[in-house]
């Protein structure tokens, strides 16, 4: 199963593998720093938006958005 940002627990550190979604939205997420290879730290993920830290910036993502970002653990294998 694909792991997305929406199901990474608080405090988790992951690396972006892929971003899915419509062309405009996908591009926006990529350019906000969620490009494959970027490291992401999950700050809050309990209720409401998923809050993450990426490239020195804190970003709140709606759950639908977060589910579009596929990730793997830092230093983990290819999938």
């Amino acid at each position: 199963m694909d792991v997305t940002l929406a199901n990474v627990p608080e405090g988790g550190r992951v690396v972006v593998v892929n971003v899915t979604g419509g062309a405009g939205l996908r591009r926006r997420l990529l350019e906000m720093g969620f490009a494959p290879g970027s490291e992401v730290e999950v700050v809050a993920n309990k209720w409401g938006p998923v809050v993450v830290k990426v490239r020195g910036v804190t970003v709140a993502l709606g759950r639908g958005m977060a589910a579009k970002i596929q990730v793997k653990p830092v230093g983990g294998g290819s999938g």
């Binding site: 996908r26 591009r27 906000m32 290879g37 209720w47 409401g48 938006p49 809050v51 804190t58």
Partner: protein, 689 residues
């Protein structure tokens, strides 16, 4: 005269730096066909003035959003002489992306590293010289808070304007390079008339950018477009990723290479995230957010109009104190001032139509415009404070789930809250919404939120018809508010559909670190906006209030009593509509007249009703109507929602720049309020009230 385009990410500190450099916004307008704001300011240099054109805050120049398209179009087609790119020294790893993107387009640029004062405290160290070497253009570290580096920045701009121009930046696109070279050859000799290197155009064609494809085709470059499409597909097949992702990744790789050499991050021991975490907790977060927002605006409105403190005082039986409070508020002082001029003029002038024009028309209109000014100024100040300190974005994130149900994002909390005091600044606050559709949605929906004037109206209805039973009064009150807020939510949902957006806006919101903003700069920004409001909307509000004065003081046979005026005649012709609520005869006429008069400001509904019936006390006048409770409730709902006041209509028009949207919002409000109040009447009378 030179022009400099200022470009940067949202939250990079652009408006603060802009204000710090120019001291005053010379010109505010919207970019053509959008609700995106265009600001210009003038920087006075020795010998020449430089106009700074503030482009919207964007993450890139890809053209994904309206803002990006506006920014890109200006860079590609605008008459700028240099570009000033802002990079956040707290987050260079992200914000350098836009700088790299912009520098690929032009070397006539200066990069400013913002928030330099905060960087060290947060453990970020940027090597300015290394950055300059990597980017090939002047790089200056600045702080809008302390003023550090501003002189150096101006000097760097002067140098670039004087001809010290670097080459466009070259990013290595790896797998795409052969394809770029090939498309570049196809493009040779083609003149597109835009300010971009051929390499950049080739890259865009490979990404499949529709705007560029059209442009190249129009210039006779069909072969280049076709070749680019073939190569795009070939690369996607062989590499397994599309060229768009490749360009973004390559640019970020380039940024990472630079950051490796020029940025050092140290662990800062102090944990500044405690408050930030609190905002993000499930139950306390939204409660804290609502409490902060409510407290901030309650303060603003209390200073301006006494509301909501006056209502509270009255509720506990201290009406004398409530009145004293109102007379010492800003709008109380302003209207007191104008009242005393008016009575002085009335005493000294003969009672001619000319005197009435001067006192009731001109002076009244002026008082109306000026009484809005402090309210708007302070609402803007609070908004700027919330936004700049980071409290606003955190509150928006924690309230997002709630607002999604109305087809809005968490940011709609500000306009909604401001609207409870006054709809005019609320319409202006719609600009904080992240997307165009949501902005227009809010402008259409905000007028249904009962402002302070309509609260007073509801209170009068309650004391005229529901005074004997506090429970019933509370129920009536609650149902009127529920109807109004229901209309707000419904309008937002309907407008979203009508604007072609199907899903609720998803949240992608940057949460800048919570910090204390520079009050001086906030004051400058808010004061500038308030002044521009006075110029832009003030004149129209003034003019329209004169028209309404004319319609209520003149009739077919010249100057007339309110009951014989054009407005009364119009009221008579509208009276049959009141049959929906089983109102007829003079009752229907007086209600229709009051509704028309209330267009200037909802405050005048009660006064007009009283004037029409020759009674001095509004509550008495309401009682004279002899309504049933069902009628009273329905009428209260109608008066609360029937149509935005003149000032709000003007605000919608000025903010959206669209006569169509304004007309649609007004027509919809008349239609929806009539329907809802009829339903309220039908339900309430079936229940036996």
């Amino acid at each position: 005269m030179y022009k400099v385009a200022v470009v940067g990410n949202p939250n990079v500190g652009k408006s603060t730096l802009f204000t710090r450099l120019t001291r005053e916004i010379a010109h505010i307008a919207n970019w053509p066909g959008t609700t995106v704001e265009r600001k210009e300011g003038v920087l006075h240099l020795d010998g020449a003035d430089v106009v700074l054109v503030d482009l919207p805050g964007v993450y890139s120049l890809s053209g994904v959003s309206v803002e990006e398209r506006v920014a890109r179009d200006y860079i590609l087609n605008g008459d700028w002489d240099a570009v000033l790119v802002l990079v956040d020294s707290l987050a260079p790893e992200r914000t350098l992306y836009l700088a790299v993107h912009a520098l690929e387009l032009t070397g006539r640029a200066v990069v400013a590293l913002t928030k330099w004062d905060a960087a060290h405290a947060r453990g970020v160290h940027v090597h300015v010289e290394a950055l300059r070497g990597a980017l090939g253009v002047p790089v200056v570290a600045v702080s809008a808070v302390t003023g550090e580096g501003l002189g150096e920045l101006v000097k760097a701009l002067q140098e670039v304007l004087g001809g010290g121009v670097g080459k466009p930046l070259r990013v290595n696109y790896g797998l795409l390079e052969p394809a770029i070279a090939e498309v570049e050859q196809e493009l040779a000799g083609l003149n597109l008339g835009i300010r971009a290197p051929t390499r950049w155009i080739a890259l865009k064609l490979l990404e499949g950018d529709e705007d560029l494809v059209k442009l190249v085709e129009a210039a006779g470059g069909e072969t280049a477009v076709r070749r680019a499409r073939e190569l795009r597909e070939a690369v996607a097949r062989s590499a397994g990723v599309d060229p768009e992702e490749l360009t973004v990744s390559s640019r970020f790789n380039f940024v990472d290479e630079i950051a490796k050499r020029a940025v050092v991050r140290m662990r800062v021991e102090k944990d500044e995230r405690a408050l930030e975490r609190f905002f993000l907790s499930p139950v306390l977060g939204p409660i804290l957010s609502v409490a902060i927002l409510v407290a901030a605006y309650a303060l603003v409105f209390t200073l301006n109009t006494g509301f909501p403190l006056n209502v509270l005082l009255e509720a506990v039986g201290l009406s004398g104190l409530a009145e004293r409070l109102e007379s010492y508020t800003l709008s109380g002082l302003i209207s007191g001032f104008f009242d005393s001029i008016a009575s002085w003029l009335r005493a000294g002038l003969p009672a001619t139509p000319l005197a009435s024009l001067l006192v009731d028309g001109l002076l009244g209109g002026l008082a109306l415009v000026l009484s809005f000014l402090p309210l708007i100024l302070m609402a803007l100040l609070v908004l700027a404070f919330l936004e700049d300190s980071g409290v606003g974005p955190y509150a928006a994130a924690s309230l997002h789930r709630l607002f999604q149900k109305a087809g809005l994002s968490g940011r709609a909390a500000y306009p909604l809250l401001i609207a409870l005091g006054c709809n005019v600044p609320a319409v202006m606050a719609s600009r904080t919404a992240p997307e165009e559709a949501e902005r227009r949605q809010l402008m259409a929906a905000v007028p249904f939120v009962p402002c302070q004037a309509r609260l007073v109206l509801l209170l009068a209805f309650a004391s005229a018809y529901f005074a004997d039973s506090p429970l019933l009064a509370a129920a009536a009150f609650a149902s009127a508010y529920a109807a109004a807020l229901g209309l707000f939510a419904a309008t937002s949902v309907v407008a979203r559909r009508a604007l072609g957006a199907t899903e609720a806006p998803e949240l992608v919101l940057e949460l800048p670190p919570l910090h204390r903003p520079s009050l001086k700069v906030l004051w400058w920004i808010s004061w500038d906006y308030a002044k521009h409001y006075l110029k832009r909307a003030g004149l129209v509000i003034f003019g329209l209030s004169l028209v309404v004065w004319g319609l209520t003081s003149y009739g077919p046979s010249g100057p007339a009593e309110p009951g014989e005026s054009y407005a009364a005649l119009a009221g008579r012709s509208l009276a049959p509509l009141m049959a929906l609520l089983d109102l007829s005869g003079s009752k229907a006429e007086s209600v229709a007249f009051a509704a028309l008069a209330g267009l200037v400001a909802k405050e005048t509904v009660l006064l007009s009703l009283a004037a029409y019936q020759g009674s001095a006390d509004p509550v008495e006048a309401l009682k004279l109507l002899g309504l049933s409770r069902a009628q009273a409730l329905a009428l209260a709902v109608f008066f609360t929602t029937y149509m935005p006041c003149v000032a709000t209509i003007v605000a919608i028009y000025k903010e959206s720049g669209s006569a169509k949207l304004t007309a649609a919002a007004v027509a919809w409000s008349i239609l929806a309020s009539t329907a809802v109040s009829w339903v309220v009447y039908a339900v309430a009378s079936t229940l036996g009230f």
